[in-house]
C-alpha cells in the first residue's frame, strides 16, 4: 500500500538519496518518523535497519561523539548539558547575583538568551560593545554579560557545556582539523523541512561542505489541497469542530494523517488531545522509536502526581486516576478498595479535596482491611512524605530517597515489569540513577527545592519508546515544519494570533538583537515567516486544508487574520444550542430553531364571553396569535409606569369634554347660535367637569396647578375644533353621546361604544375622536387593522337604526384640526375630500364599501371563531407593541424582523417628533422620549 502522504515519485527520489549513502536531516523527530514510515510503505519488503533520516540535533550529537573517538582535545571531554541542567546552572548564577527575582523563569530566559546569542554567532564581546554604545540598553547589556561570564566560568569549572556551545565547538574543531570524523559513512547530506535555520547551523553545513560532505536537495511535488475557511462563534467551538472533523476523517479513512495546527497549543492541547487519544487505535507499518518526555508517559505522570501529596489540596480526578493506574489497581482491586476510595473521594463532587481528607480515608480503610499490604504501604508512604515536608534543608539525596519510597509504594516494581512492555522498568531505573548522580544539582536544599528539581528532571528526561504513531497530531506551526498531512486544520486564524508573534530575547538589549537580526526583532520578516509557514502547510497537505477562526472571545467580536486566503467564510455551528439564544447570535451561527407548525385550537364555544369590542377584529387582522392570546386567553401586558397623566387618561379627558358638550348641545344650529362668551362659558364648564371626573382617578397627578394648565390647553383646543364643526353642513345629534352598539356574527357579539353619532339629512355620520397620530388606516384591505368605524357603521345598519352616510375621524389637534374618513357627501366636511381619495383609492361607492367591510369583518370573525392561532403579523408595525412576542417567538424565526421593527419605530418616532415640533403648545404634560416610543400613537 502506498503512503497517502507522498507521491510515488517523491519516495523514489528519497530512496535514491538514501541508497547513495546520503543522510536526510529534518527539523524534528516527528518529521524523521514520518519520512521513515513513508519509506517503509514504499519499500514494502522488510528492512532490517532504520533508514538514515535523522533529526538534525541528534545527528550533530552523533558527529560530536565521533569526533571524541578520534581526537584527544580537552574540549571533547566536556559533558553536554540538557536544557534542564542548563537552566539549573543559570538558576545558581542568578541566585548568587542576589536579585530578588522570579528565579525559575529568569533562568529559562537567560538560557534562551545565551542560546540565541550563540546560534546567531555573537559573543559576549559583541554584547559588551553594544552596551557601551547604546545608552538605553546599557543596564541589560552589562548585567547579562556579567551573568553569562559567571555561567561560562561555572561550566568550565564543572567541565560541562551547553548544546549551542557544543555546536560552536564542533564547528571550530572541524575548521581546525580540516577533515571529517572517521567512521562517517555519509557521502553527503540533505536538508529537508527547514524554513530558516539559525546562522550557526548554516555555518556548520558550509564547513562540512568545505570538508567534502556534498549537499543534496530533496523536493517533493507540491500538493494542491482543497482549501476552506470556517468561521466559528468561539475558540471552544473551533476546537470541537476540528476534532469532530478529524474523527470523521479517521472513520472514513484510517490511513489519513491529520494535523491540527494551533499557535497556542498550551490552551488547545487538553481538548484536542482527549479526542485524538480516543482515536489512536490504528496500526501502522514500520517500527518507529519515539522520543518523548517521561512526564508524558502515564508512569511519569503518576510520579508527578504522587509528588503533589505535599500540597494541601489535590485534584479529585487526578487522585482517582492514580488509584486506578494499572500498577496499583490490581493490588487494590481485592475487596474493591480502589472503587471504595474513588467513591468516597468523588461523592461530594468537589474538584479539589484536602490531602488530609484523603489520608484520613486511607487510615480508615487500613483499619477495616488490615491484610492489604499495598494499602498499608501507600498509607504510610504518604503520611511519611507529608511529615518530612516540614523539615529544613537537607542533602538532595536524602530527599530523593524519600521520593523514591513514595514512588515504590505507588508503582511496585513487580507490577511495572508485568504491565509495562518494552523494558520500561529499565528506563525508569536509568532515570532514577541519573537523578541520583547528576552533575548539575543542588547539594543541600529544602524540600520545596528538591521537589522542583525532581519535577523538572521528570519533564526533561527523554525516553525512547516504541509505539504506534498518532494519526491526529496537535502541533504548533513551527513543530509542523517539514511534516506532511493528508488533512490539516489551522486553528485560531484570528488577526491577534496570525501572523505568529515571536518575542525577542527578553534579557538581551533590543538594539543588539536587531543589529544581529535575531528572531522576533523584525516584524516584516516575522510576517514573511508566518506566510511561509502557511504556504508550507498548503504545499505539504494532500487533500484538504481548513482554516478556522472564532468570531467572538467572551462577548468581544474578533477579526479574522489578514493572512487567510481569499475564500468564502463558511459559518458552522454543530454544538448544542443553548436553551435560549438571541436571534442575532443564531443568525451569526447560521442556525435556525426547529419550527413546528401549530396553527389552530378549538373553535370558540357559543357560551364564551367576548371582550374587546372592535379591537378584537383589529387584533385578528394584525395577527391571529395576538387575538387569540389577548381575547381568548385574556392575557394582558404588565402595567408600565408613566410620569404625569398617561396617554389613555389624556384621551379619556378629551372624550369626556365632548361628551359633556354634546349632552348640552343638540345640533349644529345650537352651536352656531351661541355667542362667543356663552360658548366659552359652556366649554369651560364641560372642561371643569371632565377634569374633576378624571382627577378622582388620578388625585396625585391632577393637582391644582396641573388642572389649571390642562384646562387652559383644552379650552383653546376644543374651541379651535368647534370652529371646524361650525363649518359643517347642519346636523343634529343622532343618538346620545357614547352610544352602545353591537355587531353580531354567528355566536360572536362585539360590544362597542361610539364617540358620537350625528344625523345629517336623515342619515347617520359616525364620529370618532383622535388626539394623536396613529397607524395609517387600510379600510380597503382584507385585514382591517382599524375596523372600529366600519364596524360601527355595520352595527348601526345591522340594528336597523337607519342608514349610515359616513364614518369620520375627528382629529382634535391644535395644529391642524380636521376630519378624515369616508362619507357620501365629502363637501360637508372641510378638508375631507383629500382624505377620502386617500382612503378610497378604488373609488368604491358607499354601498360597495359597506358590502366590502361586511365581507372582510365576517372573514376575520370566522377566523377568530375557528381558533386560528397562526403567528401571521400583517407587517413590522404589528409587533411593535405586542406583549406576546416572547411567546410567539417571531424574532427567533425571523431575526431580521427585530431590526425592521426598530427601524419602523425609529421612522414613526421621527414623524411623530416632527409633528410635535409644530404642536409644542398642545402639550402641557410633555411625554419623555422613551414614553413616546412606548406609548406611540393612541386612539382616544
Amino acid at each position: 500500500m502506498n503512503s497517502p502522504l507522498f507521491e510515488k515519485s517523491d519516495l523514489k527520489s528519497l530512496d535514491h538519496l538514501l541508497s547513495s549513502g546520503i543522510v536526510v536531516l529534518v527539523p524534528n523527530f516527528q518529521c524523521a518518523r514520518q519520512l521513515q514510515d513513508a519509506f517503509f510503505h514504499f519499500r514494502k519488503e522488510p528492512i532490517n535497519e532504520l533508514p538514515n533520516i535523522q533529526a538534525v540535533d541528534l545527528w550533530i550529537n552523533d558527529l560530536w561523539q565521533k569526533l571524541a573517538q578520534d581526537y584527544s582535545d580537552p574540549r571533547l571531554y566536556k559533558i553536554t548539558l540538557n536544557s534542564s541542567e542548563e537552566q539549573r546552572l543559570w538558576l545558581q548564577v542568578i541566585s548568587e547575583a542576589g536579585h530578588d527575582w522570579h528565579k525559575q523563569g529568569s533562568a529559562r530566559l537567560a538560557s534562551m538568551a545565551l542560546r540565541t546569542m550563540l546560534l546567531w554567532e555573537t559573543d559576549l564581546s559583541h554584547l559588551r560593545h553594544s552596551a557601551l554604545i547604546s545608552g538605553d540598553d546599557k543596564q541589560a547589556g552589562v548585567i547579562f554579560s556579567s551573568w553569562a561570564e559567571e555561567f561560562n566560568r561555572l561550566c568550565l569549572a564543572l567541565g560541562v557545556q551547553t548544546q549551542s556551545a557544543m555546536l560552536l565547538s564542533l564547528i571550530g574543531m572541524l575548521e581546525e582539523t580540516l577533515e571529517l570524523p572517521k567512521g562517517m559513512e555519509q557521502s553527503g547530506y540533505c536538508l529537508y523541512g527547514f524554513d530558516d535555520p539559525p546562522p550557526a547551523y548554516i555555518k556548520l553545513f558550509n564547513t562540512l561542505e568545505k570538508l567534502g560532505l556534498s549537499r543534496h536537495s530533496l523536493h517533493f511535488i507540491p500538493c494542491k489541497p482543497l482549501q476552506r475557511i470556517i468561521s466559528c462563534p468561539s475558540l471552544e467551538e473551533e476546537i470541537a469542530q476540528a476534532t469532530e472533523w478529524a474523527e470523521q476523517l479517521l472513520r472514513d479513512d484510517p490511513n489519513c494523517f491529520v494535523g491540527i495546527i494551533s499557535p497556542d497549543t498550551a490552551s488547545t492541547a487538553g481538548i484536542v488531545g482527549t479526542q485524538w487519544r480516543r482515536q489512536n487505535l490504528l496500526s501502522r507499518k514500520g517500527l518507529v522509536r519515539e522520543m518523548r518526555s517521561l512526564a508524558d508517559h502515564s508512569l511519569g505522570n503518576g510520579m508527578l502526581l504522587c509528588l503533589n501529596f505535599a500540597q494541601h489540596t489535590l485534584n479529585t480526578l487526578e487522585i482517582s486516576s492514580l488509584l486506578r493506574s494499572p500498577w496499583l489497581s490490581k493490588k487494590l482491586r481485592q475487596s474493591c478498595l480502589n472503587d471504595k476510595l474513588d467513591y468516597i473521594l468523588r461523592q461530594n463532587e468537589e474538584q479539589q479535596i484536602p490531602v488530609s481528607h484523603f489520608i484520613y480515608q486511607l487510615q480508615s480503610l487500613k483499619q477495616s482491611h488490615p491484610d492489604n499490604v499495598t494499602l498499608i504501604k501507600i498509607s504510610e508512604a504518604v503520611l511519611l512524605y507529608r511529615q518530612q515536608n516540614k523539615k529544613s534543608a537537607e542533602a538532595l539525596n536524602y530527599w530523593l530517597e524519600h521520593f523514591n519510597k513514595l514512588w515504590d509504594a505507588f508503582f511496585p516494581n513487580d507490577e511495572i515489569e508485568a504491565t509495562a512492555p518494552n523494558d520500561f522498568l529499565k528506563t525508569l531505573q536509568d532515570f532514577k540513577t541519573k537523578l541520583f548522580t547528576s552533575v548539575i544539582r543542588p547539594e543541600i536544599c529544602t524540600f520545596a527545592e528538591a521537589l522542583l528539581y525532581v519535577r523538572e528532571a521528570i519533564f526533561n528526561y527523554i525516553i525512547s519508546e516504541q509505539r504506534q504513531s498518532a494519526p491526529v497530531m496537535l502541533l504548533s506551526p513551527t513543530e509542523a515544519a517539514g511534516l506532511h498531512f493528508t488533512h490539516c486544520w489551522v486553528l485560531q486564524m484570528n488577526e491577534s494570533q496570525w501572523p505568529i508573534q515571536q518575542n525577542p530575547a527578553q534579557l538581551l538589549p533590543l538594539n543588539f538583537q536587531k543589529q544581529h537580526q535575531m528572531p522576533g526583532t523584525n516584524r516584516s520578516s516575522e510576517l514573511a515567516k508566518s506566510k511561509a509557514i502557511l504556504h508550507g502547510l498548503t504545499l505539504s497537505t494532500t487533500n484538504e486544508v481548513c482554516y478556522s477562526y472564532s468570531r467572538y472571545e467572551d462577548d468581544q467580536e474578533q477579526l479574522s487574520s489578514g493572512l487567510l486566503p481569499d475564500l468564502t467564510h463558511e459559518k458552522k455551528f454543530k454544538g448544542k444550542l443553548p436553551r435560549r439564544m438571541h436571534p442575532s447570535i443564531l443568525k451569526q451561527l447560521g442556525e435556525e430553531l426547529e419550527y413546528r407548525p401549530d396553527e389552530s385550537r378549538l373553535p370558540l364555544l357559543p357560551s364564551s364571553n367576548t371582550t374587546g369590542g372592535a379591537s378584537l377584529l383589529g387584533d385578528q387582522a394584525d395577527c391571529s396569535f395576538r387575538a387569540f392570546g389577548k381575547h381568548r386567553l385574556k392575557t394582558t401586558p404588565l402595567a408600565e409606569p408613566s410620569y404625569g397623566l398617561s396617554h389613555s387618561a389624556g384621551g379619556l379627558l378629551l372624550h369626556k369634554i365632548f361628551e359633556y358638550l354634546w349632552n348640552r348641545l343638540h345640533s349644529s344650529d345650537e352651536l352656531l347660535s351661541l355667542g362667543e362668551v356663552k360658548l366659552n362659558e359652556i366649554v369651560l364648564a364641560c372642561i371643569e367637569n371632565a377634569i374633576d371626573e378624571i382627577a378622582k382617578k388620578h388625585p396625585m397627578t391632577m393637582l391644582a396647578r396641573y388642572k389649571q394648565l390642562q384646562s387652559e390647553r383644552l379650552h383653546s383646543l376644543v374651541l379651535r375644533f368647534l370652529e371646524l364643526e361650525k363649518q359643517r353642513s347642519p346636523f343634529i345629534r343622532g343618538g346620545k353621546p357614547e352610544q352602545d352598539l353591537f355587531w353580531k356574527y354567528n355566536n360572536l357579539t362585539l360590544s362597542m361604544r361610539s364617540d358620537r353619532i350625528d344625523l345629517q339629512e336623515g342619515e347617520y355620520i359616525v364620529v370618532d375622536y383622535k388626539s394623536s397620530k396613529s397607524r395609517p388606516f387600510n379600510w380597503l384591505d382584507q385585514r382591517l387593522t382599524d375596523p372600529q368605524l366600519p364596524l360601527y357603521a355595520l352595527a348601526i345598519e345591522q340594528a336597523g337604526m337607519g342608514k349610515v352616510a359616513g364614518i369620520l375621524h375627528a382629529w382634535v389637534h391644535h395644529f391642524e384640526p380636521k376630519y378624515t374618513g369616508v362619507c357620501r357627501d365629502p363637501e360637508s366636511y372641510p378638508k375631507l375630500g383629500l382624505s377620502e381619495q386617500k382612503f378610497n383609492k378604488n373609488n368604491l361607492s358607499w354601498n360597495e364599501l359597506l358590502t366590502l367591510w361586511e365581507t372582510h369583518m365576517s372573514k376575520l370573525a370566522e377566523s377568530y371563531l375557528n381558533g386560528d392561532i397562526r403567528v401571521n403579523p400583517l407587517n413590522t408595525q404589528s409587533c411593535r407593541y405586542c406583549h406576546l412576542k416572547a411567546l410567539c417567538r417571531i424574532s427567533e424565526r425571523d431575526p431580521d424582523r427585530e431590526t425592521q421593527t426598530e427601524a419602523a419605530q425609529e421612522e414613526l418616532f421621527l414623524s411623530e417628533n416632527d409633528e410635535s415640533r409644530h404642536s409644542n403648545n398642545d402639550s402641557v404634560s410633555k411625554v419623555t422620549y422613551s414614553e413616546k416610543i412606548i406609548k406611540g400613537g393612541h386612539n382616544v
Binding site: H99, D100, S106, Q363, K390, E495
Partner: protein, 202 residues
C-alpha cells in the same frame, strides 16, 4: 452629502491635531471612540512605524472595539478605493460628513501603508492598542532588569487558592510550634477542621 454639523465639530477637528495633546471628556455614546479612532488614523499618517503609536484603554472590551474600528475603517477604505478607482474624490462628496473624515484618514493610511510596506491589513499586530494592564505586563517583560522581576511572573486573576495556602501554612507553622506530637488520627482530624473552617471563612 451635506448635513448639519454637530455643535462640537470644531472641537473634534482640533482634537485631531497630532502636534497637541488633548483631554476629551464627553458623555457615553457621543463619539469618543470614533474620535480616538480618527486620531489614531491621523497619527498613522505621519508616523514611520505603526508600532510607534500606543493607544491605551482600561478594558479589554474597549481595546478590542478600538482595534476592530480601526481595521474596519481601513478595510472600508480599501473597498471604497477598489469600487471607485482613482476618481474616488467625487465619490467622497456623497459620503455622509461624519463618516467622510474617517474615510479620508483611512485612505491616507492605506497610501502610507503601501509606500512604507507596513502590510497592516495582514499584520495588524503592529497596531499597539492595549489595555493598560497588558501594556504594563509587556513593559515589564521588555525591561526585566529595570522592572526588577526578571521573568515576568504569571498573572493570577483568582488569588483565593494562594490566600488559602498561605493561611494554612501559617496555621501549620503555629501548630508545630505550640503543640507537642499527638496521635496521627487526631492530627488529621484537626487539620480537616482547620481547612474546612478556613474554606468557609474564605
Amino acid at each position: 452629502m451635506s448635513e448639519i454639523l454637530p455643535y462640537d465639530h470644531k472641537a473634534r477637528q482640533t482634537a485631531l491635531d497630532p502636534t497637541q495633546s488633548f483631554c476629551v471628556s464627553a458623555p457615553a455614546g457621543s463619539g469618543k471612540t470614533e474620535l480616538l479612532t480618527q486620531r489614531f488614523l491621523q497619527l498613522l499618517c505621519i508616523c514611520s512605524e505603526p508600532q510607534n503609536i500606543l493607544a491605551f484603554t482600561f478594558t479589554r472590551k474597549a481595546a478590542t472595539q478600538m482595534r476592530t474600528r480601526i481595521l474596519h475603517a481601513l478595510f472600508k477604505a480599501k473597498d471604497f478605493l477598489s469600487a471607485h478607482g482613482s476618481n474616488y474624490q467625487s465619490a467622497l462628496e456623497q459620503v455622509e460628513d461624519h463618516k467622510k473624515k474617517t474615510l479620508i484618514l483611512a485612505i491616507s493610511v492605506l497610501d502610507r501603508n503601501e509606500k512604507l510596506g507596513w502590510e497592516l491589513m495582514s499584520n495588524s499586530a503592529r497596531l499597539r492598542i492595549n489595555t493598560i494592564d497588558s501594556f504594563n505586563a509587556w513593559l515589564t517583560s521588555r525591561l526585566p532588569f529595570a522592572a526588577g522581576f526578571g521573568a515576568r511572573p504569571k498573572l493570577e486573576a483568582d488569588l483565593s487558592t494562594l490566600y488559602s495556602e498561605t493561611i494554612q501554612d501559617l496555621l501549620e507553622e503555629m501548630e508545630q510550634k505550640t503543640m507537642a506530637s499527638s496521635n496521627t488520627e487526631a492530627k488529621i482530624q484537626r487539620e480537616n477542621r482547620v481547612e474546612m473552617g478556613l474554606a468557609e471563612t474564605l
